[in-house]
């Protein structure tokens, strides 16, 4: 990882802010103008804490997070295939502490919206003027009969929170026999990282291709009938690994019975709507819902599993002064199928909106005009990557999906009547961009 010491970082930030930032009075414990508690130290929570302090050091910010080291989900499929060291995806919380964020490693067990305080497992209580919740997702293991948290930790990893399960799945892949079958079960949407399962299939295929397992099969059992960046994935799968009948990668849609209903861990067999599929490696990604703490606090008022928030500032529509960001919230143009994707970049973007909004509110300034952006790169082979970008604005207190500023990498060149393939150099460039994006995204959230 490129090192970026705090001094040079602060210089950069001051430069970014111009001289004005330096003029903001420094925080004194006794004069903090407001207490903001941030729950969850992933991309969303870290960015919120960081930008609050950048924008107004007079705010007392406490970040409560279980772990002491964060592992990025974006690009963690490259860890499974051995293309990337997991350390390149990790960050501690020293950067945030250095900015004056009080980082507490604890678990929030209860939120009391009435008294505006949170309680933690270690018995502490934290009062807040504003609470930012960024708990990520929880997995509904019971939706797949036979699946449990314990199985996920030992034999049937989802590896959908980067960390130990990512390394477990990597080990399982390494011991996959040539001719063996690697099953990836995709839950019904919405789920975190929409292109992730399909990128994973490609990374697994790449590993097999280059490690004497050319006869291996990757079977994607999907609960859905289409997926993110589909034409881009299919083009790459076909060109690099073989796709469909006789190819290395096979995709079974929900309509064709792809949904995994149950699993028999004894025989490593998945039962779908119509069939049984036995795998040597079984990677079931369970259906998602908002983080448990958000559901327990009564914030999951969208279909009972996601948290509805206000477009202008991400405040919960269930409880005042609680802001829900990241994978737990629902936003965007849901009705037109253009919901916010559950991504790291999106969480970072939402966090900046909350930070600016809160700082304005706490200082009696007019509310800022929010803008939400997303970028997400997928790497599917050596020198082969592509991306999707999203842009949302807020008009009349509604999210508006800006089509002109959104979309996936080009699928074809030429005209509709005479299409031409996109030159390979385009895919090569985006494979390189992916790493630069990740480095900057990590720094913009944790440094």
């Amino acid at each position: 990882m490129h090192t970026f010491d705090r001094r040079s970082f602060l210089k950069t930030v001051s430069a970014a802010a111009g001289a004005s930032l330096l003029c903001v009075p420094q925080a004194r414990a006794t004069t903090a103008k407001a207490r903001v508690v941030v729950v969850g130290g992933g991309y969303g929570g870290a960015t919120a804490a960081r930008y609050l302090r950048l924008l107004d050091p007079g705010i007392d910010v406490t970040l409560i997070e279980r772990g002491t080291r964060y592992t990025s989900c974006p690009l963690s499929n490259e860890v499974i295939s051995g293309e990337r060291d997991i350390k390149t995806l990790q960050s501690g919380y020293g950067g945030l502490s250095g900015r004056g964020v009080k980082v507490v490693h604890d678990e929030v067990t209860r939120i009391d919206p009435a008294s505006k305080s949170v309680a933690t497992a270690s018995g502490e209580a934290y009062a807040y003027d504003a609470l930012i919740l960024s708990p990520g997702v929880d997995f509904n293991f019971s939706a797949v009969q036979g699946l449990t948290q314990e199985l996920a930790d030992t034999r049937i990893p989802h590896a959908w929170k980067a960390g130990p399960q990512t390394l477990l799945l990597k080990k399982q892949l390494e011991s996959l026999p040539d001719g063996g079958r690697f099953i990836i079960a995709v839950p019904p949407g919405p789920f975190r990282c929409p292109p992730g399962p399909y990128e994973r299939a490609a990374q697994v295929a790449m590993y097999c291709k280059h490690h004497g397992k050319k006869k291996a099969k990757i079977l994607i059992l999907d609960s859905n009938d289409t997926f993110s960046k589909k034409p881009l994935f299919e083009e790459a799968w076909k060109a690099l690994y073989g796709y469909g009948e006789g190819g290395m990668i096979e995709w079974v849609s929900g309509a064709n019975g792809g949904k995994v209903e149950s699993v028999d861990p004894g025989t490593m067999t998945c039962q779908t709507t119509f069939d049984q599929h036995k795998g040597d490696v079984v990677n079931i990604i369970p259906p998602h819902r908002a983080g448990k703490i958000a559901i327990d606090a009564g914030l999951a008022n969208f279909k009972g599993v996601w948290c509805s928030v206000k477009p202008e500032n991400m405040e919960s529509t269930a409880h005042k002064d609680i802001y829900v960001i990241g994978d737990s919230c629902v936003g965007g143009e849901v009705a037109t199928g253009n919901a916010f994707p559950k991504s790291a970049h999106m969480a970072n973007s939402q966090a900046k909106v909350v930070a600016a909004s809160l700082v304005a509110k706490l200082n009696g300034l007019p509310p800022p005009k929010p803008i939400y952006t997303n970028a997400c790169y997928s790497v599917v082979g050596h020198e082969w990557g592509f991306s999707v970008v999203h842009l949302f604005r807020v008009e009349n207190n509604q999210w508006v999906y800006i089509k002109e500023g959104s979309g996936i990498s080009p699928v074809t060149f030429g005209t509709p009547k005479a299409p031409k393939p996109v030159p390979r150099i385009y895919r090569k460039m985006e494979a390189e961009y992916a790493d630069g994006w990740l480095r900057n995204l990590l720094a913009d959230s944790f440094a």
Partner: protein
């Protein structure tokens, strides 16, 4: 007083509707969306993403407009800029041009440095200057720009698969021998000032 100071800090990183500084404030909010990939103040920490803080306003304005109107090829940025109005792009160009240029000098072997310098003095110096820090008017500084990014850009110029409207740059890149382009990129990437 404190309110004013915080408002100033906010305008540096945030954005507002209403109030006396509406235009400026809106721009700051837009600029923050660039940080995810280009770093705060346009100082990138990822080697395939360029630093953009402190580049000439006309350069930033021109490339963003060219991407927007499909006069210049990009792969990601051409999609991103299409969501912004011309006024917003102009303001973003002005915002990033006002930031100081922060080189990120990268280590390189003496052999590559020598090879790069020779290529640079023959093909690049005329516009970019011998260290990249003293270019012609409107030409971006590239001392301590990320070498990886510059190598990729040069590949775009050389491949013939991209619409690259700057004829002089295109000619120089295409005339370079295959090993010269990456050496020049690494040479400039190694420069501090």
């Amino acid at each position: 007083m404190r309110k004013v100071l915080v408002a100033l800090a906010l305008t540096a990183l945030g954005g507002f509707t209403g109030g006396p500084a509406t235009a400026r404030e809106g721009i700051e909010a837009l600029a923050r969306t660039c940080n995810n990939c280009h770093g705060i103040g346009g100082v990138s920490v990822g080697n395939s993403m360029p630093s953009i803080g402190g580049l000439p306003v006309e350069y930033l304005r021109t490339v963003m407009k060219q991407w927007k109107y499909d006069e210049r090829s990009a792969i990601t940025m051409n999609r991103v800029v299409k969501g912004f109005s011309d006024d917003e792009l102009d303001a973003l160009a002005a915002y990033f041009a006002k930031q100081p240029w922060k080189p990120s000098p990268q280590r390189v072997s003496p052999e590559v440095l020598a090879k790069g310098k020779s290529a640079v003095s023959e093909k690049c110096e005329d516009c970019h200057g011998i260290t990249g820090s003293d270019p012609d008017v409107g030409v971006p500084k590239i001392n301590g720009q990320w070498a990886k990014y510059m190598e990729l850009e040069l590949e775009k110029y050389r491949s013939g698969e991209f619409k690259m409207p700057h004829r002089k740059m295109k000619k120089a890149a295409q005339e370079a021998k295959p090993a010269e382009a990456p050496a020049a990129a690494r040479y400039y990437g190694a420069q501090n000032r």
